[in-house]
Amino acid sequence: MDHFSQGNINYPPQPRSDAFSDPTTQTLNPIVVGSSVLAIKYKDGVMLAADTLASFGSLARFRDCERLYRVGDFTVLGASGDISDFQYTTHLLDTLVVEEYYTNDGHVLKPPNIYEYLSRLTYGKRNKFDPLLNSYVIGGFDGGEGFLGYVGHLGTSYQSSTIATGIGAHIAQPILRKVVEGRENTITEEEAIQVLEDCEKILYCRDGRSLNYYQRAKITAQGVEISGPHKVEGDWQYGVKFGKYGNFK
């Protein structure tokens, strides 16, 4: 007797690849993400800028997402990368600020403290293969002068008078450096606003995951001021004459 003349779907047994055989795997992909954050030191303190877009892949999903967050009275945290991890971090920092308040010893968390804490936190999570998929910009005013630091998803951290994350690191950073470096103590508020506005305009022109509305944060001896959303006008007139390829009319 030939038992298999019609074929037997279950013999020989094959390994299955479906929902019930695969192990659960770690995913290290950011999902809802923010694009560039820019920051500079200027005469009176520091200024940060970030557009108000949270993208879901190529979809401009949430167009009113605020990526500059005030922490205590002297610091603003800007973030690019995964928005859910940014929400986790801001919530964590809020609880820290409250706990510091309740120790009631007169000390509050200042920008260098936030910077150091985030640096330790992100590095520790990177070591456990459970990273916060963000690039953070910590801007603040402390000890009579501005403070500006960067913390990345690997735990890398540094301080500088100009910082740009995401695509801004390629497109805007050279412009920020040219205008600001060497002039940190003389560049005025108007010039600072102008250079950030110019960079946001260029990013809107060249970054496919950007929006033409952005927020600005200014931190000085007077404290934190987050303004916006400000609208950026694109520069399109040259398209009237240019755009063709080749030599046809």
């Binding site: 690849s17 479906d18 929902a19 019930f20 695969d22 659960t24 795997t25 770690q26 995913t27 950011p30 999902i31 809802v32 949270a54 879901f56 979809l59 999903r61 949430f62 997402c65 995964d82 928005i83 859910s84 940014f86 929400q87 986790y88």
Partner: protein, 210 residues
């Protein structure tokens, strides 16, 4: 989604209007191309005036909704009043974020409470939380971003909001293979919850060559 897993392909919408919110969903559950349930109810009650719209893995979203329903019932017992929409959304958000690697869930939490009136909260795949005047989710939602951006207005009347949701879901269904069947709509106001069922043969249709 892994092969063999049951999927809420889905079109979901939630809209605030003057007086409350309107939520809507299609009724198709798929496993690959096979339609496992063609009359699914994706609008899941969490509390008296709080609903969750579920998309993604059917198992994951059912499990999460059951847990949040339990927490919401305990909230009423412990605090003597109904949880706010914001509270329910925060509970979903916490579960979705802390277990982001294991879950495949896109959820909209919506309802009416006495402090904020109607509110809508969207929790996409990564587990972030977004409060919005209106929200869409599910695979079918991609086809109606344009329709929604064009037609949404703040402070619509209840009928305008219901029509907005009905047309949005109908348009999603017409283009998304993972959405279909009937349309379920729920209106939530101070007065309570009003559920509407639109059978498949009464779903609005649009331009079609034949």
């Amino acid at each position: 989604m892994k092969p063999g897993e049951v999927n809420l392909g889905t079109s979901l919408m939630a809209v605030t209007f003057k007086g409350g919110i309107v939520i809507g969903a299609d009724t198709r559950t798929t496993s690959g191309p096979y339609i496992v349930n063609r009359v699914t109810d994706k609008l899941t009650p969490i509390h008296d005036r709080i609903f969750a719209c579920r998309s993604g893995s059917a198992a994951d979203t059912q499990a999460i909704a059951d847990i949040v329903r339990l927490y919401s019932e305990m909230y009423s017992v412990n605090f003597g009043e109904d949880p706010t929409i914001r509270t329910a959304a925060a509970l979903f958000h916490d579960i979705c974020y802390q277990n982001k690697n294991a879950l495949s869930a896109g959820i909209i939490v919506a309802g009416w409470d006495k402090y904020e009136g109607g509110s809508v909260y969207c929790i996409p795949l990564g587990g972030s939380l977004h409060k919005q005047p209106f929200a869409t989710a599910g695979s079918g939602s991609t086809y109606v971003y344009g329709y929604c951006d064009k037609n949404f207005r703040e402070n619509m009347t209840q009928q305008e909001a219901v029509d907005f949701v009905k047309n949005g879901i109908a348009l999603s269904i017409s283009r998304d293979g993972s959405s279909g069947g009937c349309i379920r709509i729920a209106t939530i106001t101070e007065a309570g919850v009003d559920k509407i069922f639109i059978p498949g043969d009464q779903v609005p249709t649009f331009w079609n060559k034949s």
